[in-house]
Point group: C2
Chain length 493, copies 2
C-alpha cells in the first residue's frame, strides 16, 4: 500500500462517516421542525440505529492499516492533522462497545421524550429513573473512555466536547470566575426601559432574523432559517447549514438574540475551508471554540447600541406600529438589563456564567458519584440560592429546565462559559487590529469583522486544537480577564 492509496482509502472512509453524521443532524433538525409528535418513538430507534452504524463504520478494522501508514508518512500539516483527528475519534469509538453506544443513544431519546411530557407538570419523579439510567450509562461510557483522555472519568466525557479540557483546570477557573462575577452582578444596573407590551408580528420577526443574517454575511443559497421551540444550528451536509430561532409575540428581543447566537454558529460552519469538506477537519476543534462565535455575535454585537442603531431602519420598516416612539437603542438597553433569574436561557450576559458554574459543579458530582439523581433537585435549589440568591418554586424552572442531561449531554455545559471567555478574548483581538467594535458595527463594517473571524478562526476547521487556535488568533492563553474587563466596561458605568 502506497501513501497515495492509503490517503484515498482514508478519504473514502471518512466521507462515509461524514455522510452518516450529516444524516444524523438532519434527523435532529426534522425532529424539532417538521416531525409530528407520533414520530418520536420511531425517530429514537432510527437515531440509535444510525449511531450504531456510524460507530461500526468508525471502528472498521480495515482502516487500521492505512491510518497506521499515514501516521508514519511525511504528510503536509493539514493531512497530518486530519489523520490525527480521525485516529483520535476512532480510538475513542473503539473504547466503547457498540451495544453501549446504542444504549446511551436510546436511553437519551427516551429520557428526553419523558422530560418533554413531564416538565409542564414539574414532575421530576417521572423523569428520575430514566435520568438515573442515562447517568449510569454515561459513567460506564466515561470509564471505558478514560484511557484515551483525562485524569478522571468526567474528563473523558469533557473530551468529547472540549478536547484537552480537564476538570482539574476547570474547577479553579470557575471558582475565580464566580468570585469576580458576584460583586459585578451587585454593581450592574438592574433596570431598563423594556420594549414589551407592544405587538411584534411573528412573520416580521422571521424576516428580521433573515435580514440580520444576510447583513452579517450568512449565505442562504447554502443555508436555511426556521422557527423552533428551542433554537439550534445544524449542518445536515456540505453546503447546507441551518439555524432556528424562537419567537414571542410581545417581545422581539429573545428571537433576535437567539438568531444572532445561532447565526454565529452557522457562520462558523459556513466558514470552513471548502477543501476540508467531508473530511475530519470540517468541524470546530471544540464546542467552546464553536460557542465563542455564537457568543461573539450575540453579546459583543447583538447587545450594543451601535447594532440596534444600524438595524433601526429595518425595524421601522418591519414593525411600523411597535417601533413608533421607540428610541433606536431601546432594544439594546433592554438586552443589557442585569437581574438574577431562574432560567439559564433567559439570563443576562453577567449572571449567565453563574448558571453554568452551578451545572458544572453538579454534573461533576453526578459522575464522580458524589451526588445521586434523587438528590439533584435539592442540590440544584441550594446552588441557585448560593450563586444567584434565588430558589426555584418548582423543578420546571429549576433542575428540569434544560434538555442536556436528559439527552446524555454531560460535560457539555462548561463549553458555554469557555465560549464566553474565548469570545471576549477574540473581541479584544479584533479591536486591537480593526478598531473599536461599536464604530465597526455602526459604520456597517460587519463584513470586515466576519472576514477577520473567517481568516483567524473559521477557515482552519479542526486543524488546530481549540487552545492553539485561540492562542494563534488572540496571542493569549485562556483566562477570565478579558471577559471580566468586557463586563465591567459594559455593565458598570
Amino acid at each position: 500500500m502506497t501513501t497515495d492509496t492509503a490517503w484515498d482509502a482514508f478519504r473514502e472512509w471518512w466521507a462515509t462517516i461524514s455522510d452518516l453524521s450529516g444524516v444524523g443532524s438532519l434527523l435532529g433538525w426534522d425532529r424539532e421542525t417538521d416531525m409530528p409528535p407520533g414520530g418520536a418513538e420511531g425517530r429514537a430507534s432510527q437515531m440509535g440505529t444510525l449511531a450504531a452504524i456510524r460507530h461500526r463504520e468508525l471502528t472498521r478494522p480495515d482502516v487500521e492499516e492505512p491510518i497506521a501508514l499515514l501516521a508514519e508518512a511525511d504528510l503536509d500539516p493539514r493531512r497530518a492533522a486530519a489523520v490525527r483527528q480521525a485516529g483520535r475519534d476512532r480510538r475513542r469509538a473503539l473504547c466503547v462497545p457498540e451495544d453501549l453506544v446504542r444504549a446511551v443513544s436510546e436511553a437519551g431519546s427516551r429520557c428526553v421524550t419523558a422530560w418533554i411530557d413531564a416538565r409542564p407538570r414539574a414532575d421530576f419523579d417521572a423523569v428520575a429513573p430514566l435520568l438515573e439510567r442515562v447517568v449510569e450509562l454515561k459513567r460506564r461510557q466515561a470509564e471505558a473512555l478514560l484511557p484515551e483522555g483525562g485524569e478522571e472519568p468526567y474528563d473523558a466525557l469533557l473530551e468529547g466536547f472540549e478536547p484537552g479540557a480537564r476538570a482539574s483546570a476547570l474547577e479553579p477557573l470557575f471558582a475565580r470566575l464566580t468570585e469576580r462575577l458576584t460583586p459585578l452582578v451587585a454593581r450592574a444596573s438592574s433596570d431598563g426601559p423594556g420594549i414589551g407590551g407592544r405587538t411584534w408580528p411573528r412573520d416580521a420577526q422571521m424576516t428580521l432574523a433573515d435580514r440580520i443574517a444576510r447583513r452579517v454575511g450568512f449565505d442562504l443559497e447554502h443555508g436555511a432559517i426556521a422557527e423552533s421551540a428551542h433554537p439550534f444550528t445544524v449542518t445536515p451536509g456540505p453546503g447546507d447549514v441551518r439555524f432556528t430561532t424562537r419567537l414571542f409575540d410581545d417581545d422581539p428581543l429573545p428571537g433576535a438574540l437567539a438568531a444572532m447566537h445561532e447565526l454565529g454558529h452557522a457562520l462558523y460552519e459556513q466558514g470552513f475551508d471548502p477543501e476540508l469538506a467531508r473530511g475530519p477537519l470540517a468541524e470546530a476543534p471544540s464546542l467552546g471554540a464553536h460557542e465563542s462565535q455564537s457568543r461573539f455575535w450575540e453579546n459583543h454585537v447583538g447587545r450594543t447600541d451601535a447594532f440596534w442603531r444600524l438595524m433601526a431602519p429595518t425595524l421601522a420598516e418591519l414593525f411600523p406600529e411597535a417601533t413608533a416612539g421607540l428610541e433606536p437603542e431601546a432594544p439594546a438597553a433592554a438586552a443589557r438589563v442585569v437581574r438574577p433569574s431562574l432560567i439559564r436561557v433567559e439570563a443576562d450576559e453577567v449572571t449567565y456564567n453563574l448558571h453554568i458554574a452551578l451545572r458544572a459543579r453538579l454534573e461533576l458530582a453526578l459522575i464522580r458519584g458524589d451526588l445521586a439523581v434523587a438528590d439533584l433537585p435539592g442540590a440544584w435549589d441550594e446552588g441557585m440560592e448560593e450563586l444567584l440568591g434565588l430558589r426555584p418554586p418548582d423543578p420546571r424552572d429549576g433542575v428540569m429546565q434544560d434538555i442536556h442531561w436528559h439527552d446524555g449531554l454531560i460535560g457539555y455545559f462548561p463549553t458555554y462559559t469557555l465560549g464566553n471567555l474565548y469570545a471576549a478574548q477574540l473581541a479584544e483581538a479584533i479591536e486591537a487590529e480593526l478598531g473599536p467594535l461599536p464604530a465597526l458595527i455602526e459604520e456597517d463594517r460587519l463584513g470586515e469583522v466576519l472576514g477577520w473571524l473567517r481568516e483567524h478562526v473559521h477557515r482552519h476547521g479542526a486543524e488546530f486544537s481549540a487552545a492553539d487556535l485561540m492562542r494563534r488568533a488572540t496571542g493569549r492563553d485562556l483566562d477570565e480577564d478579558a471577559l471580566i474587563a468586557h463586563l465591567e466596561a459594559t455593565y458598570v458605568g
Copy 2:
C-alpha cells in the same frame, strides 16, 4: 438455534432495514421541502451512502441461517408471510452484483441531471446516449433478476414494483382497455365552466388541504402536510406519515386534487396494523395496490359534486372573495372536463390510462430490444397520434415529459393504471356494502368509507399479494369492467 431465537434475530435484522428505509425517505422529504439549493450535491452522496449501507444490511450473510430455519418452521400466517416477503427482497438484492447496483444508480443520476438540463431545450439527443446506457443496464439487471420472477426480463423489472404481474397478462389488458376507452373519450363532455381567473390565496389552500385531510380521517398527531413542487407521500418512520401538495394562485383544483391523491397514499400508510411496524409487512403489497388508494380518494371522491357540496362551507370560509357567486359544484365540474392533452400529469380521468398504455407499450419494446432509444421520439409521437389524436410539437411535451425512465424506473408506469382498475373495483365493493358513494360523501360519512378500506385493505399491509388482497376485498379478479362502468356512468350522460 430455536425458532424463537431465529425469529428475534429476524425481527432485529429487519428493524434496522426499516430504520434505514425511513431515514432514506426523510432525506427525500427534506430535499423537496427544507433543503437549500447548495445542499444538493452532498445530499446525493448521502442517499448513495445510505442505499449502499441498506444493501449491505439486506444481504448480510448471518441472517441466512435464521431465515432458512423460519422458512421450514410452523409459523402463524403473518409471520410466515413476513419471512417470505423479507426473503424475496433479500434474494432480489443478492441476485444483482453490487457493481451493477451502483452502475444503475449512477447511470440514473447522470441521466436525470442531463434530462433536467436538456428538457427546457427539448434536446432529446443530449439525453439519448445516457438513456441508452440506463436501458442497457436495466436489461442486464432484469436478466440477473429473472430467475426470481417472471417469464421474460421485463417481468423481473415489473416484479420490483408489482410483484406477481406479468407482461403476458398486462398486454391484453391494456389492449382491451384502449379499445374500450377510445370511444368513451369521443363521447365524454369536453367543456366546463372552469373556476380559474380568481385569486385563491396559498395559505388558505394549505388550510383547505389540512381541513380535507382531517375530515377524511388523517391523523395529524402521526402525520404532516407541506407544500412542494411535485406532490409526494413519505413515511419517515413508524407513526410518521407525511404528504405534500402543490399550489397555484389562480386555481385551487390542482392543489386540492393532488392533496386528495397523496392523502389516499398517506391514509394507507397510517392504516397498517401497528403490530406490523418495523417489520417486512409494514408496506403495501405493490405500487398498484398503493395507487388504488390515491386514485380512489382523488377520483371517486374528489371529483364528485357531493364532495364539493360537503366542502362548500369550508371553501366559503377560506376563500370568501373567490367563492362569491360560485356554484358549490363548480370545482367538481371543472375537475371532470375530458379533453385529450399532451401531458400525463395534467390529463383527465378518462384519457389518463391512454397515456399509460403508450408508456407500457414503449418500455416493453425497449426492454425486449424491439425498439432502440434513438427511435423512441418517433414511436412516442406516432403512439400519441394513434391513442389521443395529438402530436407533440417537440420532445419537451412528448417523450421527455416524465422523469421515470431517465431515473431507471422501467416497469413502473403500468402500476398507475392498475391503481385505477383496483380503485374502481373497490368503489363498487364499497357501494355494494355501504350504499351509493355520493350519498355517503354528502352525508359526511367518509369515516365509514375509510373504515371499510382500513378493514379490507390497509390493515393487512403486505400480508397478501396485491391480487389476493383485492380478490378478498372485492370478490373479483382484476379486469377493466369496473373502471369502464365508472367512467361511462360519470362521463357519458
